[in-house]
């Protein structure tokens, strides 16, 4: 069971953006319940593309599907904006209304758990 410690970044992707008005669809889960790491980190995690990983922060955890993106340096994992990213994002707004959505200290590890759907995820709140 491999794990990496990274800064988590969330943000827009084409796939996430083109399904954001259709969030109850499978396409949205496929687009947003993912975590991108580089090939090296994939090796460290001991998983293959398409496997699930668990992202843990001080604020929560979420299971997502891992993908390779070699644009990410070793220190970074990327999760598209959406409820999975927000399950591990802190709500403190720093006194200016804005949570830190980018640069969250996280641990990513391989897992046997499955990805929660939107309804299950909301039900868990």
């Amino acid at each position: 069971m491999g794990k990496i410690n990274v800064k988590l970044i969330s943000g827009r992707t084409l796939d996430q953006g083109s399904t954001l008005e259709n969030k109850m669809s499978k396409e949205f889960v496929d687009a947003a319940a993912i975590c991108e790491v580089n090939q090296k980190n994939l090796g460290t995690l001991g998983v293959s593309e398409g496997d699930n990983v668990e992202v843990k922060t001080d604020f929560g955890e979420a299971v997502v599907c891992v993908r390779v993106n070699n644009g990410n340096p070793d220190s970074i994992a990327f999760v598209p904006m959406g409820p999975w990213a927000n399950a591990v994002t802190g709500s403190d707004s720093g006194g200016v209304g804005m949570p830190i959505y980018k640069g969250i200290d996280s641990e990513v590890s391989s897992t046997d758990k499955s990805v929660l759907g939107v309804k299950e995820l909301m039900g868990a709140i």
């Binding site: 008005e21 644009g71 927000n86 709500s91 006194g95």
Partner: protein, 433 residues
């Protein structure tokens, strides 16, 4: 194309802040059958998909169908009976609806916030500190020889931006990308960075100190700059500053990499100050890459109606503006609001889990064309026409240029403007009674 089909040209795209206005949409008289020239984001939005068909009201834990009159009445009752109503969203609808919304919140003494507070709200706060050296996108297209994307990734978030306005666009003084230098600053090598003449990778959360180092170099005090700042060598920083000073017309497109990371609005204050100072040497501007197509419009409407661009609290009768207190995330975090009106947005999906929790405990009213995670918390759901596709009105591009988005097809759903016009009337009745 059949005989009844109609092609509508010069369509304004209601997805992102680029507000491309050259789309061609084919309809068969009742629905849209084809969208040309749009990117994947715009096309998916305009083509649409399965809708919430009818207004819904939650009873015994389940949403049941209702009429518009009933749903608006119920929503109005909830809002007029609330001591501290909160409203949030408003970025994916037109200014005419936003005007009614601001009026509604004033009437009920609530808190009104937009998606800007978790998007470019920190940019607005920085503008309030140091100003906004900007220009329209056509200025970039015609003149810019140095284009910088900093913490923004238009290939994914604003797909046609580079072709229409920035790097690849041809203009009067510029033949296109041969005449421009594209620099990308980011913490990871994005698809936008792949195209850059120069990609500068920075350490997460180090934007503020990098801008400080650049300003220090610009002011002639490079001797105090350490050999490396935020992952960039001092030599490289000196070279970058020199390049910026030599620009004929430079632009920085700032993204959420600046607003949503460590130092938040301070990053923007620092980069805006940098741009101000470069203007003593070279023409330079900064344009925030606004996400939703009319988030800029919300800021404009809210400012002319209330004096402030977002996060306004009407509970005192006059307008109280205090981001950090009156922003939606904070009002939810403090579990302060006793009802929540969500319009054309999805906080259940886009707010941190800890902020969403309070939505379980209060009545939530959702006005939106589509079922989304917020619907899971909603007690009243009012489906609206998709503004910019099924309803017309004004939207502001990321550079403040207002365009009129079209109604392309007739639908059975009322527009946001009509819904809030009715709700405002109803609330006034209830308050008067």
């Amino acid at each position: 194309m059949s005989a009844e089909n109609r092609i509508i040209t010069d369509v304004v795209c209601p997805f992102c802040g680029s507000l491309c206005d050259d789309l061609e949409v084919e309809t068969d008289g009742t629905k849209i059958v084809k969208v040309k020239k749009a990117c994947k984001l715009g096309k998916s939005k305009i083509m649409g998909h399965e809708r919430i068909e009818s207004p819904l009201i939650r009873e015994d834990g389940k949403l049941r169908e209702a009429t518009y009159e009933e749903a608006i009445e119920r929503a109005s009752q909830i809002l007029s009976n609330s001591k501290r109503p909160l409203s949030y969203g408003w970025a994916s609808t037109v200014c005419e609806a936003i005007e009614k919304g601001v009026h509604l919140l004033e009437e009920i003494g609530g808190v009104m916030d937009s998606t800007a507070s978790v998007c470019h709200g920190p940019t607005v706060l920085a503008v309030q500190g140091v100003g906004a050296p900007g220009c329209t996108l056509g200025e970039v297209k015609n003149r810019a020889d140095l284009v910088i994307f900093w913490g923004s990734n238009p290939v994914h978030a604003h797909p046609r931006h580079q072709a229409r306005y920035s790097y690849n666009a041809k203009g009067f003084f510029s033949g296109g990308k041969e005449d421009r230098t594209l620099m990308v600053f980011d913490v990871r090598k994005t698809k936008t960075a792949d195209k850059a003449d120069e990609y500068v990778q920075i350490e997460p959360g180090s934007d503020y100190k990098i801008f400080s180092a650049m300003r220090t170099i610009l002011s002639g005090n490079e001797d105090v700059v350490p050999s490396e700042v935020g992952g960039i060598s001092k030599e490289k920083l000196i070279e970058i500053v020199d390049r910026m000073k030599k620009a004929k017309f430079g632009v920085i497109f700032g993204g959420l990499g600046l607003t949503q990371s460590r130092c938040r609005y301070k990053n923007l204050e620092n980069v805006i100050s940098l741009v101000d100072e470069i203007n003593e040497h070279a023409k330079f501007t900064l344009i925030p890459m606004r996400g939703h197509y009319n988030i800029a419009g919300f800021g404009q409407v809210c400012a002319w109606e209330t004096g402030y661009p977002f996060a306004v609290d009407f509970s005192r009768g006059y307008v109280w503006y205090n981001p950090g207190e009156t922003t939606a995330v904070d009002v939810l975090n403090r579990k302060e609001c006793d009802s929540f009106l969500v319009v054309a947005a999805d906080p259940a999906s886009n707010f941190p889990k800890g902020s969403v929790e309070h939505m379980k405990d209060i009545p939530v009213i959702q006005v939106d064309p589509y079922h989304n995670p917020t619907t899971e918390f909603a007690d009243v759901v009012i489906p609206a026409a998709v503004a910019g596709v099924e309803a017309e009105g004004t939207a502001y591009r990321m550079d403040g240029i207002p365009l009129r988005v079209r109604k392309l097809v007739d639908v059975k759903y009322p527009s946001d403007e009509e819904i809030f016009d009715k709700m405002l009337t109803k609330v006034k009745e209830l308050k008067g009674a």
